[in-house]
Every structure is written in structure tokens, then in C-alpha cells.
Chain length 265, copies 2
DNA sequence: CGCGTGATTGACCTTGCTCAAAACGAGTGG
DNA sequence: CCACTCGTTTTGAGCAAGGTCAATCACGCG
């Protein structure tokens, strides 16, 4: 499905896992780790819960950058778990403009809401070459029935998503361009750190400036100038696909960033 | 707690329920109805689920307009159910600007996320004189354990919230001022209709233009001009606290409104 | 070397913000 | 009934953030 050529095109974000064979298997240990890390600072995760989640049957699928995974209006009968790489949720608004709602990384389940909402209100696309696991709704429902604590963890995951959505409303609604960009970068770094990526306030983001623009509700041109400013003030370094935060406190200040909403310990 | 004077101040939105005595009781039938209506088009609600939810013990509380109900940073040990009136979620961003994240009406549970997220990332305030029920987390957890279908309904409720948050991101991120206002009005009408309020595309909204402004991320002045335009084009009529949509199709067109995300039937 | 994607810049223009002043009820004290 | 206050809506004028358009640059590839 994915050719070697796809890798050669441009240096892409470093993969955490080696490219796995597609097909059915149990939840990869490493993936479950990402999900656990996101929550374990706040929820006590028993071995039983960990085991139950890790035992979920998933069908692996490798995605090429730009692949549309779920389309707005679709009625999925399963949910996605991201194993490696980055996907984003988005939809076309008004005058054919695109709005991105979130960037999702390893351990995230970007369409878990499809478990109870029949129709997708947005699409999901791979930002870079990625690997996902597909879990049938039936398997999730079965797990939830047998293990309420696991259900609570999944529910909590969707609640964290919602908290992030709220923060994004505030970001686009009440912050200036420079601030919006700084805030977004802080969030991506912080979320990466939580699951064990983003060492040294550095993260790999394979999107273009257009992706940033559609996420913060600005034009590409303005994003470009904002990034230029953040670089010139020595707050970040940008060498696609690597973004390194040079001055965390300074960037958080500019971005009005307080990570409380992420409940990351 | 609430004086007659509070009512005399200004014509407030018509109350659905007579002012109830404060104190402990079961979930009022009428309230549960609002919650059920929001979901019954999409979920099969058995009598058992209805009964279980209706049996939840709530402590009634009457609120005066402007009352702060839950503060950002708080760690609630119970959840709110709105019985009558309107509350809104908000927080202060950046340069002391306020962002409103949602308006919540009868049947909504605006801080249900506190069940699994320890700390509130935003505050909740009463928009008008309102009545709420407080349900302890313990009671909710107990219900969920005994009745998984009821748990799913509550989960679904938080997922609908998230869908609305996403739409608001798109609204502030990618729509122009006039369009944002139109979209917000459409949403409020549509949600009101779903639970049996908003007859004839008319709804009671007791907020000021500043509330609208903080919801759509614009200045009050600009909101004022946008409303003026919507009125002059005969799309709406505005006579606080009543808003009447004169031309639904036209308003939806201007607001780029598609109610799919509300899953309202 | 020509091509294609994405980053960068300059010039100009629009939307929407800020500041400030009126205009409007509705309630209050006289 | 009248003057006065308070909160809110409405308007005008000037300004700034950010959008649009159009080149140009950079770089990796065939």
C-alpha cells in the first residue's frame, strides 16, 4: 500500500514504530501506552483496565500523507486509534474555506464519538504517513460492558477532546494572530510530552503552513508572518518538519498558554 | 432566595416551570423530557432508561441572572442539570477578554464533564433567572453502573456538546461577522425547537449584545451592526428578550447553517 | 534544466476594533 | 409626573489587524 517512494519524497516526521504489516492483531502495547499516559496522572489505571484495553482487537492500516480516512457524513461502524503519525479533523465551511478542528497523535481516538453520534460532522485526514488501528464499535461496546472502568477512560478521552475544542474556540475567538500560533505550538508540544514524544520541547509536525492557517483561522500569509516573528524573537526554531521551542516560558507568555485544560498532570 | 423584585426589573424570558421550592427531590418529569427529546430521534430510549434517569435525586436551586454557578478551577463533586432558564460557559482569555463557549438550556448538563475531568477549565454563569438541579457524582456513577444504556445517553450528551464546540470553532475561525451571528441564532432556535421551546422560530434570549459578542468572538459594536443588518434585511426581528426568525431559509443561508451536527432528528 | 509544492514578501484593501458620544428605556427618589 | 441614574443599544470616526492578490524564492525531483 505504501511505497518506499512515499518516504523518500521529503524527510517526514520520525516514526515511532517500525512500519507494521497490515492486518488484524491485538492493540500494540506501545499504543496503549500512549493512551494510558494521557490519563494516568489523573485516573488510577488498574492492571485489569490496562489488560482489557490492550486486548482490544484492532485491524492495522497504513496511511499515506493526505489520505482521507473518514468522510463528513459517513456513518462509521468502528473507531480509529492512532498508532503512529498524525491525523487531523476538518471540514469545509462557508465559502469553501477549510477549518481544522484538531490534530491527533498516537493514542488518540479521533472518531470515537461515532460510537454514539450516527453521522460524522467532519472528516479525518492523515497529515503525514501514519498507522492506525480500526476497532469495531461492537468490540468497544463489548469491552465497555465488561469493564466499566475502561469505558470511563474512553469517555474521559472524549471529554479531554472537548476541553481542547473549548480552548480552540477561545483561541480563534479572542486571541491575536501571533498569540494563536504560539498557543497552538505550545499545545502540540505539551500533548506530545504527555505521551512521551516531544523530547526537549521539540516536535515533528509534517503539516504545511496552510494546515496551521486552517487550524487557527488565519490566512497562510499571516501565519507565515507570525511564524517569522516567533522565530525572530528566538522563541522557536522551525525547520520542517521539526519545530523546537527555544524559550518555553516566553512562548507560553505570548500564547497565553496554561496547560490546565489538558489535565496533563 | 429570589425576590419578586428580580422579576420586575425587566421582562425576562418566560419560565417554563413555575418557580419551584428549593430542596431535594426527584428529577422533575418535565426536565427529563427535555433531555429525552434531545436524543430520542437517534437513540431508542426504553422505559427503563427513562425511569432510571427520572429517578435521579436532584437538589433544586434557583439562580438569579448573573449568578456564578461554577468557577474555573473548581473541582465539583456533582453535576448540574438545567431545569429552566439559560446558563452559559465562559472563561477569561488573554487580555481580560471573555470567551463564551456555549449557551445551555433546559435538559442540558453543562458540567457533566466534571465527572471525569477533575478541574473545571471554565466557569458557568446564569444568563437569566434560572432553576437548576444538582446531582451528586456518586448518584450519577451509581446510575451508570446499574444502567449502561443511561450511561450511554449521558455520554452521548457530552458528545453532542463537543460537536457544537467544533461548529463554534468553525464559526469563529472561518465565517464573517454577519454570518457568525446568523449561525448562532439558527443554532439557538434549532436547539430550542428540539426540546419543545422556540415555537414559530421564536426564542427568548435574555442576554445582552455583549453576550453574543463574547460568544462569536466579536466586539459589541460589530455585533450591533450585524444584528442591525439582519433586521434590515427582514431576516429576524429583535425585541429583547424575544428573537423571532422571519426568514429561516434566508438566515440559514447567510449563516451557512446546516443542523446536521445537532443530530436533531 | 524544467516542474511542482510550499515558503516568503510586497502592496493594497477590507473587516472589524477602539474610542467616544448619543440615544433609550425602565426603575427610583422626590 | 419629573429629574436622574444605570445598563444597554446605537452611531460616527479613525485606525489596525489581518485578508487578498501576485510575484518571487527555495528546494527536491524527474
Amino acid at each position: 500500500m505504501r511505497s518506499i517512494a512515499a518516504f523518500a519524497t521529503r524527510p517526514t516526521a520520525a516514526r515511532v514504530l517500525p512500519l507494521a504489516a497490515e492486518g488484524e492483531m491485538k492493540m500494540p502495547q506501545r499504543l496503549a501506552e500512549a493512551l494510558f499516559r494521557k490519563h494516568e496522572g489523573n485516573v488510577h489505571l488498574t492492571d485489569e483496565v490496562r489488560t482489557a484495553l490492550t486486548a482490544l482487537p484492532v485491524v492495522l492500516r497504513n496511511l499515506k500523507a493526505g489520505a482521507l480516512v473518514v468522510r463528513e457524513g459517513a456513518k462509521p461502524n468502528g473507531a480509529i486509534v492512532i498508532i503512529d503519525g498524525c491525523l487531523f479533523r476538518h471540514k469545509i465551511v462557508a465559502d469553501s474555506k477549510r477549518q481544522i478542528f484538531s490534530f491527533q497523535i498516537a493514542g488518540d481516538m479521533p472518531d470515537l464519538q461515532s460510537l454514539f453520534l450516527k453521522e460524522m460532522d467532519h472528516s479525518i485526514t492523515a497529515l503525514d504517513d501514519a498507522t492506525i488501528g480500526m476497532i469495531s464499535h461492537a468490540a468497544v461496546l463489548d469491552l465497555m460492558q465488561k469493564n466499566p472502568a475502561a469505558a470511563h477512560l474512553l469517555w474521559r478521552d472524549t471529554l479531554l477532546d472537548a476541553a481542547i475544542f473549548r480552548e480552540w474556540i477561545a483561541n480563534t475567538g479572542r486571541r491575536q494572530g501571533l498569540s494563536r500560533m504560539a498557543h497552538l505550538i505550545c499545545e502540540l508540544v505539551r500533548r506530545g510530552e504527555t505521551i512521551g514524544l516531544s523530547p526537549n520541547k521539540t516536535y515533528q509536525f509534517d503539516g504545511t503552513q496552510t494546515h496551521y492557517a486552517d487550524a487557527v483561522g488565519m490566512s497562510v500569509v499571516h501565519v507565515n508572518r507570525a511564524l517569522k516573528k516567533l522565530r525572530s524573537e528566538r522563541l522557536i526554531e522551525w525547520d520542517r518538519p521539526t519545530i523546537k521551542v527555544l524559550d518555553w516560558a516566553g512562548l507560553a507568555e505570548v500564547g497565553d498558554f496554561d496547560d490546565a485544560y489538558l489535565e496533563a498532570r
